[in-house]
């Protein structure tokens, strides 16, 4: 039967030798890139190693805002313009997509820190996609170059307390007044809302139209940027207030509860102006279209960081007179971890290519589910390899595990549903 003896045994011997030859390959498995992409990856990798990683633990342990060194550095790298076309000052080709570039940057930054770097690209990407889909020429000209420069930062505000799972129930109300709109109601889980100078807000402009989602519009809410945990901002007699929600992981950007009280937004800040009224749902969908693949890349970066930290620990730590790395069970764990990381990375690269060709929507969901699921598994294994100390906050791996689990809470809260819907889609496509 294909000589099982040789196929596995000899191969195994051979592998040991190959492993030695491969010293220095940094544990990164299939990753064949052209020169431009390799340069891009290496740039973000260096930034993550030199700037992000040294600060990641402190940001997590003190639950503090991402420091300026990281933000300024990313600004200089053009990071906030990754999804913005070159003609608006961004890095994306004007007439094609570049999902691969986006996930390479995301993966490397997430390897540095999920909360303090890897997720920073998400918000400008969403806002840019929404504006490119629905913004007027003037809105695009005003906002896209600014977003690409990271000045101001932006946030996205869709989720509301108690909306449960029914998007049609978004109830933050925008009432027409002279020269603009007044917003009333609450939002929650608005990440980066403090630092942001502009927030993309989904609101109900028409409470009567059916189906409900046709009554939604998108607004650009300007406010001053702040590092504080709470803020109040007045506009034309109205106010918006924000209060940070302390979270157990995924720290650095802060997520806010928000409340709008007669807050005024001028007509110019309705995305698409008159044309955009009632189309906010579609613009939002478009904004989020790259998110699933990006989440997979974030999970890949996190997995790689967990793998690296477990390897470093196992090579240094001795138990019962042997290095942890010398235990066959540890080695087997590493092989499985490496296997899953490589599989997720290959899968996400393949999906990136699909998406750039306008396909790959089901696949994007699949790779997101797989990567979030395996990030949790890989980081838990990495923690187990650390033994008891892995549970102490002082180790990087404890943060990686918490972040992976929290990613999976936030991205996988609806996993069962997602699985069913994908299963159905696969059935239908068969």
């Amino acid at each position: 039967m294909d000589d099982p003896f040789v196929a596995s045994q000899l191969a195994a011997d051979e592998l040991t030798a190959l492993g030695r030859d491969l010293v220095g390959a940094s544990g990164t498995l299939p990753y064949r890139l052209d020169d431009e992409k390799r340069l891009m990856r290496d740039t973000f990798r260096r930034f993550a190693d030199e700037v992000v990683r040294p600060r990641a633990a402190a940001i997590h342990r003190t639950d503090s805002m991402i420091p300026d060194e990281i933000i300024e550095g990313l600004r200089r790298l053009g990071c906030f313009g990754l999804s913005i076309p070159e003609r608006f000052g961004g890095l994306k080709p004007d007439h094609s997509e570049d999902s691969l570039g986006m996930i390479l940057a995301t993966e490397e930054l997430s390897r540095g820190s999920l909360g303090a770097a890897g997720s920073l690209i998400t918000r400008p990407e969403i806002v840019a996609r929404a504006l490119l889909e629905g913004g007027t020429a003037a809105q695009q000209a005003r906002w896209l170059p600014a977003l690409a420069a990271g000045d101001p930062f932006c946030a996205v505000s869709v989720t509301e307390p108690g909306t449960g799972s029914d998007v049609a129930a978004v109830s933050l109300r925008a009432k027409r007044v002279d020269g603009g709109w007044r917003l009333n109601g609450g939002k929650t889980w608005c990440t980066f809302a403090g630092k942001a100078g502009v927030i993309l807000v989904l609101a109900r402009t028409d409470p009567d139209v059916r189906p409900l989602h046709k009554g939604l519009s998108l607004f650009l809410v300007e406010k001053p940027s702040t590092d504080a945990d709470e803020f109040v901002h007045h506009s034309n007699g109205g106010t918006v207030t924000g209060r940070a929600i302390a979270t157990i992981g995924y720290r650095g950007m802060h997520s806010f509860e928000m409340f709008y009280d007669e807050f005024f937004v001028p007509d110019t800040h309705l995305v698409g102006e008159q044309e955009g009224e009632g189309r906010g749902f579609y613009f939002t969908m478009r904004g989020f279209s790259g998110g699933r693949l990006q989440t997979a890349a974030r999970a890949c970066g996190l997995m790689q960081a967990a793998f690296d930290s477990a390897v470093a620990y196992a090579q240094n730590r001795t138990v019962f007179d042997r290095k942890v790395a010398d235990y066959p069970l540890t080695q087997a764990k590493f092989a499985r971890m490496g296997m899953y990381i490589a599989a997720c990375r290959c899968f996400s690269h393949a999906v990136a290519q699909e998406m750039d060709k306008g396909a790959g929507q089901i696949e994007a969901s699949l790779v997101k589910l797989l990567a979030c699921h395996l990030a949790e598994w890989v980081s838990r294994e990495a923690m187990q390899i650390h033994g008891g100390i892995g549970y102490a906050e002082e180790t990087d791996v404890s943060r990686l595990y918490v972040d992976a689990r929290v990613l999976s809470i936030f991205e996988g809260a609806e996993e069962t549903l997602a699985l069913r819907v994908i299963g159905k889609a696969l059935l239908e496509s068969n």
């Binding site: 799972s165 929600i245 979270t247 995924y250 033994g387 069962t416 549903l417």
Partner: protein, 403 residues
């Protein structure tokens, strides 16, 4: 599971007593913290109430003031206690060091320590693990040098639960470098107020507020310990430790597990899946809850049987490893279920303390608060008292006669 008439009467008695001993006021204070944290004072007050009733020490023989519960009464008591959220007795004094003192201590040591333990006049902690030794107790490095009339102790202990509250610590220390690793270890009691003892918190991944951490490092720097604090013979600490490990593993898991599962079922009636159905109508969720419930039931049967053996005077020691392994796995499975049922409202972080006025501010629904923190906290239970792998080795060697 059915109880006799006498047992039902006992159940009523426990309920009535708990209404006073664990009053509304404490329950409210506990509910103010998402994690249900209690202050040291609350714990002490509760344990003193138990002692006054004669129910503090369920495992102790009557001669020392034990409760003399039948296995069924013990079980009922745990069930009722878990139902109102009252904590189990802190194990370090009552169920850990006390049995060792009873078995290996001198009469003088018994007189000196046991009554204070029974009445919670002192708080004990456990000094076993060290940085670098993990679950491998034989490689301890904290040393106690024989200085004639005293031991001089130097070293570090880690993973020491609630050491910040403790008056006394029982330690495994190395009294000889020369003999075979396990034989050079002794069992020593140390007053935490002795000069040279320092406690530093370890912040675990569930991130408890300062002063309310669960585990600590304890440093000993030229700590002078009188020789009368040695339990048993020099070099026989390993024997004490093994005896104690067996006790540590003997607690019943199923009453608490059943309580938490009931909470999850309650959550299932409220939380919704993506289709807008409540989770208790969701086949996948239901199947998982049912599956765990079946396993908890199997656990309960096994626990009752072991309690029965205990009551019949048999030494259950190693068999209880079995319970710990399964019990921690089920604890982890259940917190995972709670986490998933809560969705992203498990995420908010509660750093409140039990201090007056330090109320926590819920972000999502009450039942979701602190769920992620519980989840992360529970990850570490499998390395208490030796990892599950080591437990399985103990199982193989002692129960199954293998190895």
């Amino acid at each position: 599971m059915s109880f006799s008439e006498a047992d039902r009467t006992f159940q009523q008695e426990v309920r009535a007593w708990l209404a006073n001993a664990w009053p509304e006021e404490v329950r409210r204070r506990q509910a103010r913290s998402a994690q249900g944290r209690l202050s040291k004072e609350d714990h002490v007050r509760w344990q003193k109430a138990l002692a006054a009733k004669g129910w503090a020490a369920v495992d102790w023989p009557a001669e020392h003031g034990g409760a003399a519960f039948t296995p069924t009464q013990n079980y009922i008591f745990d069930l009722e206690r878990a139902r109102v959220g009252a904590p189990a007795v802190m194990p370090f004094g009552m169920t850990m060091v006390a049995p060792v003192i009873m078995k290996f201590g001198t009469d003088e040591q018994k007189r000196r320590f046991l009554p204070d333990i029974l009445n919670t006049n002192v708080w004990w902690c456990q000094g076993y693990s060290e940085p670098g030794s993990g679950s491998d107790l034989a490689s301890l490095r904290t040393k106690a040098e024989d200085k004639g009339d005293h031991f001089l102790v130097n070293g570090v202990k880690t993973w020491t639960t609630l050491a910040q509250y403790a008056d006394w610590i029982f330690c495994l220390v190395r009294t000889s470098q020369e003999v075979k690793q396990q034989m050079g270890i002794s069992f020593l009691l140390i007053d935490m107020h002795t000069p040279g003892v320092t406690v530093n918190p370890i912040v675990t991944l569930d991130q408890p507020p300062v002063g309310h951490q669960e585990i600590n490092m304890v440093y000993f720097e030229n700590v002078i310990v009188p020789k009368e604090n040695l339990i048993g013979e020099v070099g026989k600490g390993w024997t004490c430790a093994k005896y104690l490990l067996e006790f540590e593993r003997g607690n019943a898991y199923s009453p608490t597990l059943k309580g938490v599962l009931a909470q999850i079922r309650a959550m299932g009636a409220i939380e919704k899946n993506g289709y807008g159905e409540t989770l208790d109508a969701d086949a996948a969720f239901k199947a998982r809850v049912d599956d765990i419930e079946v396993q908890v039931l199997a656990m309960e049967f096994t626990e009752l049987r072991i309690l029965g053996a205990l009551a019949a005077g048999q030494n259950v020691g190693p068999e209880s490893s079995l319970l710990k392994t399964r019990g921690t796995e089920l604890q982890q499975a259940i917190t995972e279920l709670a986490l998933e049922a809560s969705g992203y409202y498990a995420g908010p972080f509660d750093a409140s303390t039990p201090a007056d006025g330090d109320d926590f501010q819920p972000i999502g629904p009450q039942h979701a608060n602190g769920v992620a923190q519980d989840y992360f906290n529970t990850r570490k239970v499998s390395i208490y008292a030796g990892s599950n792998e080591i437990q399985r080795n103990i199982m193989s060697k002692l129960v199954l006669g293998l190895g």
